[in-house]
Every structure is written in C-alpha cells, then in structure tokens.
C-alpha cells in the first residue's frame, strides 16, 4: 500500500493534468507514460546495483527518498501547479519529451521513489504501482477539462499525501537497523 501511495504522490496525476493544461493528445500522453514506466522499471531493476555503487543502505536511501518526496509534496501543497509554457508545437511528437516527460512525468521524486521501492519491495511492485499512478496521470492529461479549481485542489491534496508518505518513509528509514 505504501508503495502505491508513494508512486501516486511522486507522480501527482492531478498536477500533471494542470501542467499539461488543458489537455494532451492521447497518443502522446500514452507514449510519454510508457517511457516513464520504462524508466521506473529500469531504475527499480537497477536499484541494488545503484545502492551498492552509492555505498548506501536501503534504509538510508529510504530516508533520502522521503526527504525528496516530502519537499516535492510541500511544494505542490503550497504552490500548486501551473500550466507549462513551452515552444513545442501542438501535434509534434517532440511533445512526448517536452512537456510530456519533462517537466510533467520524470521528476526527482519519481526516480527516487522508483529506486527506493525497487530496493525495498522489488521491481515488480515498483512497476505495477508506477503503472497505476502513470495510468491515472495519462487519464488526467487527456481528459477534456473545463475548470482548473478542482484539479488544483487535487494537486494540493496529493501534495499533502506526499508529505504524509515522506514522513512514513523517513520514520521507517530511521527505524531500520
């Protein structure tokens, strides 16, 4: 359950909807989400090797993930999200990269969550929980939306969730032997 909540907080699908306001083409969004999922799966699969290379334990990485997810959550809670301003033309496949992957989906908190969940719960758990969060993000980005207020409320709510998840990660990391 914590893995799923961590991924939801790290992806923040409602924030993705606002960043890509008013909507993104379904196919572009799907490709971006699929690439993001691939990155998550790869990071999770490489988590053990990454932690070894960094000379840190799973518990230490969990604390660091909590800090990053918590800061991102606090940013969303306080500042919400804004539609991204980029010069990539509508209808161009380049929109998959910008703004689809950057800055909407691939964030420090998602990468940290992928590695931490991969190390703690395995690649499969990291992948399916990220798949759920990214699927919600895809739905949110392709929906035709009218008023932004509800999405901003959702963004802040998921930001608050991020802080709660961060607290759990830090406490669990600190309490690990």
């Amino acid at each position: 359950m914590r893995a799923l909540l961590t991924m939801l907080a790290a992806v923040n699908p409602t924030a993705v909807a606002v960043v890509l306001w008013p909507r993104e083409r379904g196919v572009f969004g799907a490709v971006a989400a699929a690439i993001a999922l691939g990155i998550v799966a790869g990071a999770a699969a490489a988590s053990e090797a990454l932690l070894d290379a960094l000379d840190v334990s799973e518990a230490t990485f969990r604390v660091a993930t909590g800090v990053v997810v918590g800061l991102a959550g606090a940013h969303r809670l306080v500042f919400g999200a804004r539609p991204v301003d980029v010069d990539t033309p509508t209808g161009s496949w380049r929109r998959v990269a910008v703004p689809g992957l950057i800055p909407a989906l691939i964030t420090p908190q998602l990468v940290m969550a992928a590695i931490s969940t991969g190390a703690d719960d395995g690649t499969f758990t990291a992948t399916w929980t990220a798949a759920v969060a990214l699927a919600l993000a895809w739905i949110a980005m392709v929906l035709t939306k009218q008023r932004r207020l509800g999405w901003l409320v959702g963004t802040r709510f998921l930001g608050a969730l991020g802080i709660a998840v961060a607290f759990a990660l830090v406490v669990d990391g600190v309490k690990s032997v």
Partner: protein
Amino acid sequence: MKAGTRVLGAAVLFAGSFVALRVSFLAPETCPAPGAPALEDAAVAAGTWVQRGERDGRYVYEYDRGDDRMTEGYNIVRHAGVTMSLYQLVRAGHGEVLETADAGLAEMLDHVVEAGDGLAYVDNDTRASLGSSALLAAALAQRRAATGDGSFDAELRAVGRFLRGQMTPSGQMLSRYDLVEGAPVPDETSKYYTGEAAWALALLHNLFPTEGWDRPARQVLDYLATQRDEVEDLDYRPWADQWAAYTLAELAPHGLAEHRVAYARALAERFGMLVRTESQKGSWPVAFIDARARGGGIGVWLEGLGSLSTVAKRDPRLVDLREPLVDRLECGAGILAERQEDEADAAEWPDPELVEGAWFRENVTRMDDQQHALSGLLLAAGRLGPVGS
C-alpha cells in the same frame, strides 16, 4: 520557454538534487572491514592502554594529549566499568590483563561498605551509588565466568542483595542509598544505573540459577522495556541503553516475553541508526548532527548491537534482524578500529604510552572510551557472549 531550456532546467534540478543529497542524507556509508582478528587486536590494545596506566589498582581517568596532562578527579562507576571490561578481555582468552583487573577489583573491595541487606561500593560520599555497585557485581560475575574462581561469590551475592534492595515495586531502581539514614534515597534515578543493575541481576541469575535472581532481573527489565523512558522523561525513545541489551542477551536463553522482544527490536533500530549515521559522517562537509562520536559512544552502540545480535540468534521472532545486526556491528567495529590510535600515531605525541590503543576526541580520552570500545570490539569479533550462553 524553449524546450531545450526546459531540458536544461530539468538537468540542473536533477544534478542539484543529487549533489545536495549526496553531501547530506545520501552520503556514502563508509564501513571498513578489518576482520575479526584485527578487531580483537584493537580490543587488546585498548586493554593494554588501561594496563599501562594502572597504579595501585586505579587507572588513568582522563588524559589530554594536547597538553600532555591527566585530568584531576576520578569516578568509581567508571572504574568499576573498566574493571568489568578487563574481565571480559580475560574471558576472551587474554589472561595477561587479569592481574590489572584484579588490582582494580581489590581497590573496589577495599571500598565496600554494608548497605541495606548487602554491600555497596562507595567513595567518600555518604550516599552509595547504584551504578558503581552494579558494575562491581558485573565485574565479579565476569571474573567468575572468566576464571571459574568462586572465591568472591559471597561478595557478589551481597552486592546483588544491595541492588535488589534499591528496587521499587514497579521495577524502578533508586540510584542512591543514604549511608547515614540507612535507606534508599527516594525518587532519585539514573538513566545509566537502572540498566546496569538489571544486567548485574541477570548475570547473578545465570551464575546462580536456583537462587531467584531472575525475578528482580525480569522486573527491572520490564520497567526498562515498558515504563522507564516515559517515567524518567528520556529523550529519543527508546533510550540507547546497552545495559538493557546485555540484560536481554543474558535472559534470552530462558525465553523472552513479547514486550521484551519488542523492546529488543526497538533498541536494535536505535543502535542501527546511530551506527549508520556515524558511517556517513566522514562524507558530510558540515556536521549536521554532531561531530564524530567518541570512542566510548561507538563502543556503547557496539555493545548494544552485539548483545542484541545474540538475542536475535536465539529468538526466532527476531530472525529478520540477524543479518542487519551483524552488518551494523561489523560496520561500527570497523569504524572504531580505524579510529584507534596506533603506535605510529602515538609516536607523534609527548607521551605515546598514553595515546597508543586509545580513542581521542578533541585530544581528550577518558577511561570509559577504552572500556566500551574494548567490550564492543570483543562482541563484534565474536569473542564474547552472555555468561549464560
């Protein structure tokens, strides 16, 4: 905004985040692994430092190598602790320190007085402290386990009776006994002495299993496990009490109730976090929490981890902690051994004999730095276990 600028911004965000984490929460955990023989050698060197400084049964209390000056003053609780650790070294097969430990013991036995139903180890105070007597009992127990010599059993039991008399119905231990009034001083407690007394009582139980020492030992342990931190308002709960961990290790062969296992787990988490953080400090550009821990501090953590490792090996409910506890124990021991002053380091100071084998922080070492480090290193080297094992 141009897409390229976005990508560049993201790259800067990722790189900046990584650098910020790498010098703080994600700093590398540096764990030297010198191996068990080197850890044992380090413990012996610590014991030798104590041995070199012993005069008429008293040890070097505190030494400032910068000023080449020994600090005035003495502390009998620490004296008892150092003597106990020397007997642990004897138990690990290093009989060369037995004479020094016996000299330290003779000094203690010269200063025992009747108190309550037994004997207490005192200095010139009119109030006997629980801690000095508890560690005297622990020293006597370690000596008996090391040598098989029962010639001090009467004193050991008498000190045990004094300890038992300091216990309140809740299992709390009163830290002082008024020798003039002939009664325990009410409401005075110590965050160190209660655990020391619990361990001494558990050692007594394992040496004399038919004499009923287990009841007070368990009662005090339960107080430590369930009430102490709250009643005595200790910060950072559970308080990192290696004496409680020693007690758990002594009592584990007899079976531990669920709340004691929970306490063992909580202590393991606390000691594990302390060692993990210490292993990262070398990579911090600025000390966030504290400067490097003193030798005695890390030694205490190793005593806790080593004792809890024994508990985890015995109790299947802690099976998940076996490997992490060994990892942390080895990590902390490696750090400690690396920070010990060797012969070459010592040669650079005015009195190398008071430097070699010791741990210094801000150029000062105190006898309990060597005491706790010695005990912790022996545990990490696998050369020490409960008396009851």
